[in-house]
């Protein structure tokens, strides 16, 4: 409801500004018509009206931008509150349970496992938030020529270990290519981009993980990660890279996330002159996320 009323407010103020601008322009024209014989007044009038109109335009732009920023901040708070508070609530619940009740050995180990996974989730959110904040101020991190094939292999190995996956369910395909798949960039940032895409693919795959990663290099080096998970609706293919954007779908709501992962991925790709995009044949039919980076010569 609040979003709708805010939309209305934006619409109202934009209409108001356009009306005032139209009025100013009309006055300006009338001034020109009325005073076209007197050169001095004419020029003076045009300058003053010009200032007024420019001021109005700037003001409107500023207003709209501020409202947008405010909206973003709201959805950020909403997402982050949930993503931070839920694991904390869970960890506290289990700690208080252990503190106040008799818990048998097996049960206790299960509780430890749950708490560890919740603290992982917490750490993940915190890292995402910090990372996204860092990306805004482009820091001068060490840039290097990175062998993408090796890096992708490392990331895959790590993901397999972390999620206990077999080589078949998360496999790598290296396309034959002229030259090495090398790019210029910070190795850790590139790693984080690849890992984010992999984590997403695993997260949205559900029970049966079947992910294929393709590495190919021509003018660009591209890493394509294809999953057979819940997919992305056509209308959301571009949106998913926006900060804090999450597809509003029941299946998606079951999977937890801060809405920052793909934003980070694309920011990193763009930082090194590349890009990232998503393809999907629709909900339920899997998605392919591609990271494209210029090949280092």
């Amino acid at each position: 409801m609040r979003v709708i009323s805010r939309r209305k407010a934006i619409a109202f103020f934009i209409t108001l500004s356009s009306c005032v601008m139209a009025a100013a322009i009309t006055l300006n024209i009338s001034w020109v018509v009325l005073n076209w014989r007197r050169l001095g007044l004419l020029i003076l009038g045009i300058i003053f009206f010009g200032i007024v109109i420019a001021g109005l335009v700037l003001n409107t732009i500023f207003l709209v931008r501020e409202i947008r920023r405010n909206e973003q901040q709201d959805s950020f708070l909403h997402a982050v509150t949930h993503e931070l508070k839920t694991p904390i609530t869970s960890i506290r619940l289990y700690l208080q349970t252990l503190q106040s009740r008799q818990v048998d050995e097996a049960q206790r180990h299960e509780f430890y496992r749950v708490m560890l996974s919740d603290s992982d989730r917490l750490l993940n959110t915190v890292e995402h938030v910090l990372h996204a904040a860092q990306l805004r101020h482009s820091s001068n991190k060490l840039e290097d020529v990175v062998d993408m094939e090796r890096l992708v292999r490392e990331c895959l190995e790590e993901a397999r270990n972390h999620h206990h996956l077999s080589t078949e369910s998360l496999r790598l395909l290296v396309a034959a290519s002229e030259g090495d798949a090398k790019v210029t960039g910070n190795k850790e940032e590139l790693r984080s981009a690849i890992t984010n895409v992999l984590e997403n693919a695993i997260k949205y795959s559900g029970e049966k993980v079947d992910i294929q990663v393709e590495l190919s290099s021509g003018d660009n080096v591209s890493v394509r990660v294809r999953d057979r998970g819940i997919g992305i609706p056509r209308a959301d293919l571009k949106q998913v890279f926006k900060r804090f954007y999450r597809v509003s779908d029941r299946e998606v709501a079951r999977v937890k996330g801060s809405g920052l992962g793909l934003f980070i991925v694309r920011s990193i790709a763009k930082k090194y002159g590349g890009n990232a995009f998503a393809e999907s044949e629709g909900p339920g039919r899997g998605a392919t996320i591609t990271i494209q980076l210029p090949r280092a010569v």
């Binding site: 909403h78 506290r92 208080q96 349970t97 009740r101 029941r250 079951r254």
Partner: protein, 245 residues
């Protein structure tokens, strides 16, 4: 044994709550989203005595679940869990018909105590003895009835008996009416209602109370638009008059 339904989409939280409620000697079930919760709760003979309900659920949210329950005349006590804990959320919950709330992260002991409070009322209402509730000493709360102008408020069963019908109140409606009756003839400010009935200590938009008053007026006034018992004191709050002249 009392049966509690936990409506929570976070699996860890749901399982942790279930473990604790079972350790308290309660039977606990889990519903992962609003649809499943409604499927379990809407049948009249569901056998569920209380609900722990998360607000942020996939699909239909917690507020919507409660609204639908109350519309279907299901008055099972509901304890709401909110992640944000903002007064707007809490008040919206009460407006929808929630009986009590806790914000996340909550204290386990408090959650259990509040849940027991709700169960106690429910058991009184169904005429069972509250002896199964080990943690609560018997008789901590007196059975209370208030009579005014031919109407009887029975706090034990949460019923409002009128001349020719009986209205089932939610816990919070009953608490608000009791608070007003106890302060009969005095002006009760909105702020004091928020503090004493809802336990909210924030400056907040108090229109949710007005909605409650509107509902109560519909129950107890002959002409709700021209109240005789529940009077508005402009700019301050409300006043309850038992015997209007």
């Amino acid at each position: 044994m009392s049966r509690v339904l936990i409506v929570e989409d976070e699996e860890h939280l749901a399982l942790g709550l279930k473990f604790n409620l079972e350790a308290e000697g309660l039977e606990a079930e889990i519903a992962g989203d609003g649809e499943n919760a409604l499927k379990l709760l809407l049948p009249a003979d569901n056998g569920i005595d209380a609900v722990v309900l998360d607000v942020m659920l996939p699909g239909i949210n917690g507020f919507e679940v409660v609204t639908q329950l109350r519309n279907a005349k299901q008055y099972v006590p509901v304890l709401m869990l909110t992640a944000r804990g903002r007064p707007e959320d809490v008040l919206r919950g009460f407006e929808a018909g929630v009986d009590d709330y806790l914000s996340k992260p909550f204290e386990l002991a408090i959650l259990v105590a509040r849940l027991r409070g709700l169960l106690r009322r429910k058991q009184w209402a169904s005429g069972a003895h509250p002896q199964t509730l080990s943690a609560v000493p018997a008789g901590t709360e007196q059975q209370e009835t208030f009579a005014f102008d031919g109407k009887i408020l029975d706090l034990a069963t949460l019923e409002l008996r009128l001349k020719d019908e009986t209205v089932q109140l939610t816990v919070m409606e009953a608490e608000l009416l009791r608070h007003l009756i106890r302060n009969e003839g005095k002006v009760v400010s909105r702020k004091s209602i928020l503090e004493d009935v809802w336990d909210l200590r924030e400056d907040t938009d108090t229109r949710a109370i007005d909605n409650f008053i509107v509902r109560l007026r519909r129950y107890i006034e002959d002409v709700p638009a021209k109240p005789k018992h529940l009077l508005t004191v402009r700019g301050v709050g409300y006043k309850f008059v038992a015997q209007p002249k």
